[in-house]
């Protein structure tokens, strides 16, 4: 490991000044020397084992070849030999590599067995991939699931170079996944539309999220901290913009966090029973719009992958048909059914926002109660 770093540093001196340039797989050990996950550290060790075996074979083969290029050149006046067969040699370089491979397969098999050991999890989290965000649902024995969406938090201004890019550019979300330290967490991974893949390099978990399938993966993180990853299966236009952010915290902090999440859900439900002011709805709607609509419909409602909202017949037409599109989606297109993703008050807020922003100015105010009665038909 140290050698690999030193070698590359020598070859790439001008770049080495930037300490951020990582050239190898995460080691599975934190900077403070704490093992992050045992499995991650083991996979890193396996990776380096195969790497060094390859280096050794490469040095041998390339060494012989380079010596031959130097010594057996016509310009040195050598006469070519005419030997062209040797059964013993052929058998040797068939059999010896085979045994090297067997030696590699043994540790690979034992690590793979651990990867597949999903038993005895203390916490189960359903991870669902959507175009282009993740939904996390903490499965609770009492049915009191915590559930939320996790969207990219990096601003469009940073992406389009009109603002300075932050430290965690493209790797930050509005609501991270939070898990307790030293707890076996089982992830149940699926998708609602196309195939995604959930990956956090530092904890060495990657599993495809496939609609109609539930894949399993697990981790036990031993070091508190923030770990970041990305979707790793091409899932459409904004594949590069759906990161994963995992916060690993102490059990106490985790309990506080779950309590506050439950409290927030209750507050949302209470909000749905109230009449909100236009300003409140517009402010809330703007946030929802930026997180859930902007990628397809544009920052100014000008459209893009999706239709324009500014001046659109739907956003300026009847409220029910507008709600129909938002709540039920449009079959056969990328427009999802947001009724299942957003709370009633959020649907109300974003509908109000779309009807009054971008110069639409319909003056319509949609309340959560309207959404409830729409859903009830």
């Amino acid at each position: 490991m140290l050698n690999a770093r030193a070698l590359a540093a020598a070859a790439l001196t001008p770049l080495a000044a930037n300490a951020q340039n990582q050239i190898n797989m995460p080691t599975g050990v934190s900077d403070a020397g704490v093992v992050i996950t045992e499995l991650g550290a083991e996979i890193y060790g396996l990776h380096m084992l195969i790497f060094w075996i390859s280096v050794a074979i490469g040095v041998g083969v390339f060494g012989i070849m380079l010596y031959s290029i130097y010594a057996h050149r016509k310009s040195r006046g050598v006469k070519p030999s005419q030997f062209h067969e040797h059964t013993g040699v052929e058998i040797a370089w068939t059999v010896i590599p085979f045994f090297i491979l067997v030696a590699m397969a043994v540790p690979a098999t034992s690590t793979l067995l651990e990867v597949y050991d999903n038993d005895d999890a203390e916490l189960s989290i359903l991870v669902t991939g959507y175009q282009w965000k993740w939904k996390y649902e903490y499965l609770d024995a009492d049915g009191e699931n915590i559930s939320f969406f996790s969207n990219l938090a990096t601003s469009q201004e940073q992406i389009y170079n009109t603002d300075v890019k932050g430290e965690n550019y493209l790797l930050e979300v509005d609501q991270p996944l939070v898990i307790p330290v030293d707890t076996k967490v089982r992830f149940l991974i699926t998708a609602s539309d196309v195939i995604h893949s959930w990956w956090v390099p530092e904890i060495a978990v990657k599993r495809d999220a496939i609609p109609g399938f539930i894949n399993e993966a697990w981790t036990r993180v031993l070091a508190e901290g923030v770990y970041r990853g990305q979707c790793t299966e091409l899932c459409g236009s904004y594949h590069g913009f759906m990161p994963v952010e995992v916060h690993v915290v102490s059990q106490d902090e985790f309990d506080d966090w779950t309590a506050s999440k439950r409290g927030a859900a209750a507050a949302d439900a209470a909000l749905a029973a109230q009449e909100l002011s236009v300003d409140d709805l517009m402010a809330r709607g703007a946030d929802i719009y930026n997180a859930s609509c902007l990628a397809c419909h544009g920052a100014k409602g000008e459209g893009g992958l999706g239709n324009a909202i500014a001046g659109s017949a739907i956003a300026m037409g009847g409220v029910d048909s507008h709600l129909n599109v938002i709540v039920n989606g449009v079959a056969g297109t990328a427009m999802q059914a947001f009724g299942a993703q957003l709370s009633d008050v959020d649907v109300a807020a974003v509908t109000t926002y779309q009807r009054n922003a971008f110069g639409n100015n319909t003056g319509d105010v949609v309340q959560a109660s309207d959404v409830v009665s729409y859903k009830e038909g």
Partner: protein
């Protein structure tokens, strides 16, 4: 066809109606080079966007169209047709046959290609844009969520498949029936052997690809649910079918390259190929293994443990016959009397870089480690080491090696060497750093990336521009050689080259071996 001694027809009709293997070979080669430049132009757009973090030149959706078309055009438009062109030119000349066995079908299998690629490229101008789901076109992104142009893409793939199958049948028929008397199978040049095996792979797997795209067509237009979980179908089934085609496809691309290298290294080492028989057996072993390793592209889909283990062990086994090939080539060089003209330089470049690609392939075969490598730039680096430094370098070596024979004119050797070194350096600047960003966590097929990947991406883009520009030098060198290169008249242009094609005049007449040659005791290899 009463007069067997006529020359080519004049004008366009020569090319439209030709049944001559040399003309058809030439058309395949020029067509594939045009596609190489087009696919390369798309790669330049990709690398320009990735030069810095942030979105600068193109939108994410268009970026995906570029990665998709780059892959499709390079695999189906550049590499595969180029080797078919090489087969057309060389197989009859190497086995002492007057032409291919099925010359009219040969004409047809070439002429359906340009319309297919025109149709594929025209999807860029269609509403909703070109296919943007990657060259692997995983469902349901390529079905329910695809742009309307996907139907044209499916049609284009069908035509390419038909073309490949016809080309393969032709090669099999030619090699089996038209060898000169006395040329037994084990006397055939290795290029012929590797193509024979490749042709069987093509006949076996192109129909599978056709099946996959037909099921997509049914899902999109006729209400079936082969790949849609909502209708009781299975998106993972698509991947199994695709990679049952896709993995043999990798060897379809690389086996003829092995054949080329096995012709060139002995020629410039002035020494017979070491281990001819073991090379043939290794090629056959690789072809067999290629059918039982497909799911190593799918380690992260959630296969059962037993499946995961099977595909890991089978994949690791491929290292054995591939290693045999590399050892044989190096031993061929050992105690030869080497010179380093351009074809030899590209062959040695192939040997070094392909072996590096083989090592990363071995790393990727280790399933638990692949959970970290899968779908990152580490994979991108790996397959460009085997596709570009493997297939494209060997193809380039082949052009420099046989061009003087085909045209009777020599290319500019200095320019050829410059082309090699600029390509070699440019290639490594492009793809070596991609190993680093991949391991550090950069997924493939993203139009924008986190800041820690910035420096290596910039390096990679600079390398890509260098590598891309060096191909224009190649184009110039070839055109200059054809139009005004120094004439060569020797049959044996390279003093160490062996084989029947080197017994023909340079350039060879329009029809060759109308009377089969006699194969002497000396082995053809």
């Amino acid at each position: 066809m009463g007069d067997h001694h006529h020359g080519p027809a004049k004008g366009l009709s020569r090319w439209l109606y030709t049944t001559n293997h040399k003309d058809i070979g030439t058309m395949y080669l020029w067509f594939s080079f045009a596609m190489f430049l087009l696919g390369g132009a798309f790669a330049m757009i990709i690398r320009a966007e990735l030069f810095q973090p942030g979105m600068q030149l193109v939108e994410p959706g268009f970026f995906n169209q570029m990665t998709t078309l780059h892959g499709l055009i390079m695999v189906f438009g550049a590499i595969m047709p180029s080797f078919v062109g090489l087969a057309n030119w060389l197989i009859p000349m190497m086995i002492g046959a007057p032409d291919m066995a099925l010359p009219r079908m040969n004409n047809w299998s070439f002429w359906i290609l340009p319309p297919a690629f025109l149709m594929l490229a025209s999807t860029l101008l269609m509403e909703g844009g070109a296919p943007a789901f990657g060259w692997t076109f995983y469902a349901p992104l390529s079905t329910t969520y695809a742009p309307p142009s996907v139907t044209f893409f499916i049609f284009a793939i069908h035509i390419l498949g038909v073309s490949s199958i016809m080309g393969s049948i032709n090669i099999i028929a030619t090699v089996m029936n038209m060898r000169a008397p006395g040329m037994s199978y084990m006397k055939m040049p290795l290029f012929v052997w590797t193509w024979l095996i490749t042709a069987f792979l093509l006949v076996a797997v192109m129909p599978v690809l056709a099946g996959a795209v037909t099921m997509m067509l049914m899902d999109i237009h006729f209400g079936t649910s082969f790949f849609s979980a909502a209708g009781g179908g299975d998106p993972v089934l698509f991947q199994h079918i695709f990679w049952f085609f896709g993995h043999p496809e990798v060897y379809i691309i690389i086996l003829p390259a092995f054949g080329v290298i096995s012709q060139i290294i002995p020629a410039f080492s002035r020494k017979p190929l070491f281990g001819y028989a073991s090379m043939v057996y290794a090629t056959a072993a690789i072809a067999f293994l290629s059918f039982i390793v497909w799911a190593h592209h799918m380690y992260t889909v959630g296969m059962p443990l037993a499946g995961e283990l099977f595909f890991m062990y089978a994949t690791m086994l491929i290292a054995v016959p591939t290693g045999v090939k590399v050892f044989n080539w190096v031993t061929t060089m050992w105690r030869g009397a080497m010179t380093f003209e351009t074809p030899m330089l590209f062959s040695i470049g192939f040997l070094v870089l392909f072996t590096i690609g083989g090592f990363t392939g071995l790393m990727l075969s280790i399933a638990p480690a692949d959970f970290q490598y899968h779908d990152t730039y580490f994979v991108v680096a790996h397959f460009h080491y085997v596709m570009v430094a493997g297939a494209v370098f060997s193809m380039t070596a082949a052009i420099y090696f046989w061009l003087p024979k085909w045209t009777g004119r020599m290319y500019n050797e200095t320019m050829g060497k410059v082309h090699f070194w600029v390509s070699f350096i440019g290639f490594n600047i492009t793809f070596f750093p991609q190993h680093f960003v991949g391991l550090a966590g950069m997924p493939r097929r993203i139009p924008d990336y986190a800041l820690q990947f910035a420096d290596f991406n910039m390096m990679s883009s600079i390398g890509a521009f260098i590598y891309g520009a060096s191909q224009l030098l190649f184009l110039y060198n070839v055109i200059a050689a054809i139009t005004s290169g120094k004439r060569v008249t020797d049959e044996k242009i390279w003093d160490g080259a062996e084989g029947l094609e080197w017994t023909l005049p340079s350039p060879p007449p329009y029809h060759t071996f109308e009377v089969p040659p006699t194969i002497e005791e000396q082995p053809a290899h």
